[in-house]
């Protein structure tokens, strides 16, 4: 099921800033073990963020995104206590969804 994300969402002057730290190895598929065998590719391919059920950001990731991906974005609107939900899917079909309440 993947490890939990850390999500912080804060509203200021009518704009909500969302910071997400996902936990994922993000293996490129190009790295080799000590014995020379390739470590299979394993990385997040899709990320989606929603505010009260409305999509506010969609992303597709490749192998060049760093381990434990960090994401920051902003959307108009949002009120204290409302929910921001973030989901990811990786190339093995694993998914993870977490949510956070918007703070001031």
């Amino acid at each position: 099921m993947g490890n939990p994300m850390k999500i912080r969402a804060a509203v200021k002057d009518g704009v909500t800033e969302v910071k997400v730290l996902m936990q994922h190895e993000m293996e490129t598929g190009l790295r080799k073990e000590a014995d020379g065998s390739l470590v299979p590719a394993w990385f997040i391919t899709e990320v989606k963020a929603q505010h009260q059920g409305r999509t506010v950001l969609e992303a597709q990731y490749g192998q060049s995104i760093s381990k434990n991906p960090y994401l920051l974005f902003r959307f108009k609107g949002g009120a204290v206590g409302e929910k921001v939900t973030v989901s990811w899917t990786d190339n093995k079909g694993d998914t993870r969804t977490d949510e956070a309440a918007i703070s001031a």
């Binding site: 299979p40 994401l71 108009k76």
Partner: protein, 164 residues
């Protein structure tokens, strides 16, 4: 000429590369199948774009013809990255109606790092972190009001981010 040993060796390398590429393709396919499950509304992962080995190839796969250079995009990257495995990248576009921001590392094995889609109401900015195998240009592509713009900045990498 065709059968010289050198040529043979190159072909073997190419076969190996094709084989590896095929494996990744298959996994991407499984990923795509996973996305077809009910309740998921993701657009299909653009395998062709994310497997592209050059900027031109990646832009073609994203359906971009000739992006114009623009000063209205602010691309913030470190001048020197001591650790190529974690390079922070911030793209801020001061254009109205930003629909898409894509981030590339032009010398990485797969040049496209991320492709963000912005519904209306979401600001045309994003921060992420990318891996860089060597000194290269980080390129930001922005689609605003249906038109594509780009900006590039070089990041000097002192230690690569691909294995060690």
């Amino acid at each position: 000429m065709m059968n010289s040993p050198g040529r043979e060796a190159i072909n073997m390398e190419r076969r190996k590369a094709l084989k590896t590429g095929g494996g990744i393709g298959l996994m991407a396919l499984f990923g795509a199948l996973g996305l077809l499950q009910p309740g998921k509304a993701f657009a299909e992962w653009n395998k062709t774009a994310f497997s592209s080995k050059s900027m031109d190839e990646a832009l073609t796969a994203l359906g971009v013809a000739a992006p114009a250079d623009s000063d209205a995009i602010k691309l913030t990257v470190p001048e020197i990255a001591e650790n190529g495995s974690v390079v922070p990248v911030t793209v801020v576009s001061n254009m109205p109606n930003v629909e898409q921001i894509a981030i590339f590392v032009d010398k990485n094995p797969n040049v496209l790092a991320a492709n963000f889609t912005f519904p209306s109401g979401t600001e045309g900015m994003v921060t992420t972190r990318v891996k860089m195998g060597q000194t290269a240009n980080v390129v930001a592509l922005v689609k605003a009001d249906g038109k594509f713009y780009r900006v590039a900045r070089e990041v000097k990498v002192t230690a690569g981010g691909c294995g060690g």
